[in-house]
C-alpha cells in the first residue's frame, strides 16, 4: 500500500464515527474493543468523543478487524459471494461507481454483469436512487458518519438501448470498510409493489431515514 495514497484517503474519514459504528455494530463494549486494540478504555472513549485521533496503526487495525470479526469472512471471498447472491445487493464507491452487483441485481434488471459493474450510478439510474446516493454522500456516508439508512423510492434504470425501466425499491444501506481505508456503500434491497412502497414511505416519513454513527 502506498503511504502517500493512504495518507490522502485518511483525511476524509471521520474517526469518531467510524470507531463508534464499528464497535456498536460488533456489539462490543468500550472495554472489550480497548482490550482487542491494546489501549485503555479511556482512550476509546476519547477517540469516540473526538478528543484524540487514533494512530495510523490503529486505523489500519480497525479496517482489518471489520473483516476478521463477525460473519463476513475474508474480503476477497465476500466479494465473490456477494456476486452470487440471489437477492439485490450492490457495492458502490464514493464516486458512485458500481463495484459489485449481485445475481439478484442482474436478474431484476435483466442485464449482464458488464452492463452494470464498473459503471457510474448517474449513467445507469435517474430519479430517487440518485437522490439516495447524493443524500448519503452529502451526509458524510463515505466519511463513515452514517451507520445505516433505509429508503423507499422509484428506481429508474436507464437501459443501454435508451429505454427506462421503472419499479419501486426498498433499500437498506450500510458502510463497508475497504482497502486503503475507503468506505464503500453496501446497498441491499428488493423490488416491491406500489402498495408496499407506500406503506414503507409512511413509516419512514419520506424518501429515506438516516441513522448517524454518533
Amino acid at each position: 500500500m502506498s503511504t502517500a495514497q493512504s495518507y490522502q484517503d485518511m483525511q476524509t474519514i471521520h474517526w469518531p464515527s467510524v470507531i463508534r459504528h464499528f464497535r456498536v455494530s460488533k456489539g462490543l463494549k468500550q472495554a472489550a474493543l480497548a482490550d482487542d486494540l491494546g489501549v485503555t478504555q479511556t482512550m476509546i472513549s476519547r477517540w469516540e468523543a473526538g478528543n484524540a485521533d487514533p494512530s495510523a496503526k490503529i486505523r489500519n487495525r480497525l479496517f482489518e478487524m471489520f473483516w476478521t470479526m463477525g460473519s463476513l469472512g475474508p474480503q476477497e471471498s465476500w466479494m465473490d459471494r456477494t456476486r452470487l447472491h440471489p437477492s439485490v445487493i450492490g457495492v458502490i464507491d464514493s464516486q458512485g461507481r458500481q463495484i459489485v452487483a449481485s445475481r439478484g441485481v442482474l436478474r431484476s434488471l435483466d442485464v449482464e454483469r458488464n452492463e452494470v459493474e464498473d459503471r457510474l450510478f448517474s449513467d445507469m439510474y435517474s430519479g430517487d436512487l440518485i437522490e439516495v446516493f447524493e443524500t448519503l454522500k452529502s451526509e458524510g456516508f463515505f466519511e463513515g458518519r452514517i451507520s445505516s439508512a433505509e429508503s423507499v423510492g422509484k428506481v429508474e434504470f436507464k437501459r443501454l438501448d435508451g429505454r427506462v425501466d421503472t419499479f419501486w425499491g426498498h433499500g437498506l444501506h450500510r458502510p463497508i470498510f475497504m482497502p486503503n481505508q475507503q468506505i464503500h456503500w453496501l446497498a441491499s434491497g428488493a423490488a416491491i409493489s406500489e402498495q408496499a412502497a407506500l406503506d414503507v414511505r409512511e413509516k419512514l416519513g419520506g424518501l429515506m431515514v438516516i441513522k448517524k454513527a454518533i
Binding site: M43, S45, A49, G70, S71, R107, G189
Partner: protein, 215 residues
C-alpha cells in the same frame, strides 16, 4: 481540533468535561438526571462539564463504567436488527429447525405476520424443498461448523394457517453464523425466481443444493 495521540501512550490529560457532556447529550439527559445516576449534585456535574472541577479517581472509574454500560448495544443485537430489517428474504434458523427471526422481505413474500413465523419449526410451516434443505444441511454437518456455504434452488411450498398453500420458486444462499452462545445458526437468504431460472439453477447446482464444505 483533536490532538494526535499515539495508541500506546495514554499519558495525556483526560477531558472529562467533554466526555461527560458528550455522553449526557447523546443520552438526551439533563444534568440533574446524570447527577442522580452518579450520586452527586447537579452543581457538581455542571462544574465538571465546564472544566472547573475534575471528578475524583473513584468517580472517574464510576463514570467509565457508566459510559461502558450506556454504549453497549446488547451483543449481536446490531447484527440481528440488520437481518430482520432486510427488504430481501433473510431468516435465521437454529439447529432444531426453528425460525429465530425473519426479515421484512420474508413477511412480504409469504404475506404473514412476524409472530406467525418466528419461533415455529420449518417442518410445521413448509412442505417439500425447505424441509429437505434443512435435512441436507443438518446431515452434512452444517450445525457442527463443517460447511462454508450452500447454494440452493428450491420450490417453496408454504402452508398457511387456513390450510391453503403458497408456492413459488426460489434461489437461496445459506451460511453458518457462530452465535454468542457458541452454537451455529443457519442464515438463509434468497429471492423468488421464475420457473425457467429455477430449472437452470438446478442444472448449474447439479440438484437442489450445492454444499461447499469448510476447509
Amino acid at each position: 481540533m483533536a490532538a494526535h495521540e499515539d495508541d500506546g501512550s495514554d499519558s495525556g490529560t483526560v477531558h472529562w468535561a467533554s466526555i461527560l457532556r458528550q455522553h449526557r447529550l447523546s443520552q438526551n439527559m439533563k444534568q440533574s438526571a446524570l447527577a442522580y445516576d452518579l450520586g452527586v449534585t447537579q452543581a457538581m456535574v455542571s462544574r465538571w462539564e465546564s472544566g472547573k472541577a475534575e471528578p475524583a479517581a473513584a468517580m472517574q472509574k464510576r463514570i467509565e463504567e457508566m459510559l461502558d454500560e450506556a454504549d453497549m448495544g446488547s451483543p449481536m443485537v446490531a447484527w440481528r436488527e440488520i437481518a430482520s430489517q432486510q427488504p430481501a428474504m433473510v431468516a435465521v434458523i437454529d439447529e432444531n429447525g426453528k425460525g429465530e427471526l425473519v426479515s421484512t422481505g420474508v413477511l412480504r413474500e409469504l404475506n404473514m405476520d412476524r409472530s406467525e413465523l418466528q419461533g415455529t419449526a420449518i417442518s410445521e410451516l413448509f412442505d417439500g424443498d425447505m424441509v429437505s434443505l434443512f435435512e441436507g444441511l443438518k446431515s452434512s454437518g452444517f450445525f457442527e461448523g463443517k460447511v462454508d456455504m450452500v447454494e440452493s434452488a428450491d420450490y417453496i411450498q408454504y402452508r398457511k394457517r387456513d390450510g391453503s398453500m403458497v408456492k413459488f420458486h426460489a434461489h437461496g444462499l445459506h451460511w453458518p453464523h457462530l452465535d454468542e452462545d457458541g452454537k451455529i445458526r443457519w442464515v438463509a437468504s434468497g429471492a423468488r425466481v421464475s420457473e425457467d431460472e429455477f430449472l437452470s439453477m438446478r442444472q448449474e447446482l447439479g440438484g437442489q443444493m450445492r454444499i461447499m464444505l469448510a476447509e
